[in-house]
């Protein structure tokens, strides 16, 4: 799966990787808010935003093409809306729509590509996201690919038997049956996980690993990012 690439990227090292996840999150939000509030006509602002992002990508020591390629996945949807907006007689807004969504997607991708998910979740928790939600996301991510693989195997097995010429109705109910089995195995897997947790002394509370320290460099980075985004927004 292509996200595996992003996960590998997140474990590399670079000045950007080394920054505290909270600083990167704050920088991202400042950037996204600035973009979102920029009027469509401010073409120079969008150029400046792109330049700022390019600097960030360079400091992350990640491949340009790979990043841009993945960020381009948002384009089909924005291109449709952009086309509609263009034909409705507002070309400036159309371009702005496409550019905004692309740059925003690229910035978000950069965050994920330079921050392992565990760090990101820790940062979100320290910023106030409720504990149960963080834990659910953690477990979800852990078992996402395991269960998806199971589903893929079921699909493959079903395809191997498709030549039997079943009618649409039977195939529909076969799919429902497969879904039921996947559900059952998932639920039972959750029971097994809980047993394994108990077996290693779990008595009700999950504890996080040591939270990272927010250093001077992180603070400087955050300030620089917020200042740059704000400056572009106000000046251009």
């Amino acid at each position: 799966m292509h996200h595996v690439v992003v996960e590998r990227w997140s474990r590399r090292s670079s000045p950007l990787h080394a920054r505290d996840a909270r600083a990167k999150l704050g920088a991202l939000l400042a950037f996204l808010v600035a973009i979102s509030t920029t009027p469509p006509q401010a073409a120079r602002a969008f150029v400046a935003y792109s330049a700022l992002l390019a600097v960030a990508i360079v400091s992350a020591r990640l491949p340009f093409q790979g990043l841009l390629g993945r960020a381009a996945l948002v384009l089909p949807l924005s291109a449709t809306f952009a086309a509609v907006t263009w034909w409705s007689g507002d070309p400036a807004r159309a371009i702005a729509l496409a550019v905004k969504s692309f740059i925003s997607g690229l910035a978000a991708l950069l965050l994920v590509a330079t921050t392992p998910l565990t760090q990101l979740l820790n940062a979100l928790e320290s910023l106030g996201v409720p504990r149960p939600l963080i834990l659910v996301v953690q477990f979800l991510y852990r078992y996402l690919f395991v269960i998806s693989e199971q589903a893929q195997h079921m699909r493959l097995a079903a395809r191997c038997r498709q030549g039997l010429g079943l009618d649409r109705r039977s195939r529909f109910y076969a799919a429902a049956g497969a879904l039921g089995v996947l559900f059952a195995r998932s639920w039972e897997r959750a029971d097994g996980i809980y047993r394994a947790m108990l077996a290693r002394g779990f008595s009700g509370r999950f504890s996080p690993l040591a939270p990272a320290r927010f250093g001077a460099r992180d603070f400087a980075f955050l300030c620089a990012a917020v200042a740059a985004s704000t400056a572009i927004r106000l000046a251009l």
Partner: protein
């Protein structure tokens, strides 16, 4: 539909972020109270299941396949609060890991697909599952969960000024309806398959107290009213849609007046009139879904 960054105006996403944050916090706390701590891994694993389940293709027409969205199925097996938490986790993963849906607008997507959609999907089940209309209720829930999230997303785009010609909006609404019907059918089939394996996994609606029902009903009404309010920002689209549905010309006079002018005569403020009309429309939609579901359930007759 997952709204990416850059589409919604700041007023819209800021408001929805502000609404979603405490709502999710409340729901997370409620889920933690209702379920034991052991359920945290279960919620995570069920979230992973929903992701994986979306890979299973359901043939719905010549050459077309549909798949499960999952909000209603989660609500019926885990309860609405837990389902909302799981859907939020799913949306967060989709936004951060898969860049499906924006980050600044995550609050909007959460509101549409984790809160409103789950509540709308659970409401029929909560109201009607006790009687013999369980299958119809599940089907209706599936339809409404998709319709609600799609219409809210559409309304948010409209109010953000994204231009939408009538034809595109009609096509979109048509697609939403089809997706809703698919979700209803797939959810119902899935619930039946799961029940056959272990009936304990499908919650009995009597698990939740009537206070929840009241809260849910109020939430639904608020959503409808809010939806109508927001949609009134694009009156052209709605009225031409109503016109195209033939309600102006062919329907009986007593029906003609309220719906064509989108007002109910005899009530004072314009906003209240629109909201009441919207509510009336929603009731019609509920009844239609419910009757369709009953019809389909009878066809299955297991």
């Amino acid at each position: 539909m997952h709204i990416p960054d850059g589409f919604l105006g700041p007023a819209v996403w800021a408001t929805l972020d502000l609404v979603s944050v405490p709502a999710v916090g409340l729901l997370a706390r409620k889920a933690q109270r209702d379920l034991e701590d052991r359920k945290i891994p279960l919620l995570g694993v069920m979230g992973a299941f929903v992701f994986a389940a979306q890979m299973i293709n359901f043939p719905v027409g010549p050459g077309t396949t549909g798949h499960l969205v999952g909000g209603t199925l989660l609500a019926v097996t885990l309860g609405p609060a837990a389902a909302a938490v799981v859907m939020t986790a799913i949306l967060a993963i989709q936004a951060f890991v898969f860049q499906d849906g924006g980050i600044v607008v995550l609050g909007a997507n959460v509101f549409n697909m984790a809160i409103a959609s789950v509540l709308a999907g659970y409401l029929p089940y909560r109201l009607w599952a006790g009687s013999g209309w369980r299958s119809a209720a599940i089907f209706a829930g599936g339809v409404l969960s998709v319709l609600t999230s799609a219409c809210l997303a559409l309304a948010q785009l409209l109010i953000s000024g994204v231009p939408m010609p009538r034809r595109l909006m009609l096509v979109s609404l048509g697609l939403f309806l089809v997706s809703g019907l698919i979700e209803g059918a797939v959810t119902l089939a899935a619930v039946r398959a799961i029940e056959r394996l272990n009936p304990v996994w499908i919650r009995s609606p009597k698990d939740s107290g009537s206070r929840v029902l009241g809260a849910v009903a109020i939430a639904a009404v608020t959503l409808v009213a809010g939806g109508v309010l927001i949609a009134s920002a694009a009156p052209d689209g709605i009225w031409s849609l109503v016109g195209k549905l033939g309600l102006t010309a062919q329907t009986a006079p007593w029906l003609h007046a309220p719906l064509a002018d989108y007002q109910v005569n005899g009530l004072e403020s314009a906003w209240l009139r629109k909201a009441t009309a919207g509510l009336f429309g929603l009731v019609l939609v509920y009844v239609a879904c419910f009757l369709t579901g009953k019809f389909i359930a009878r066809q299955r007759s297991i």
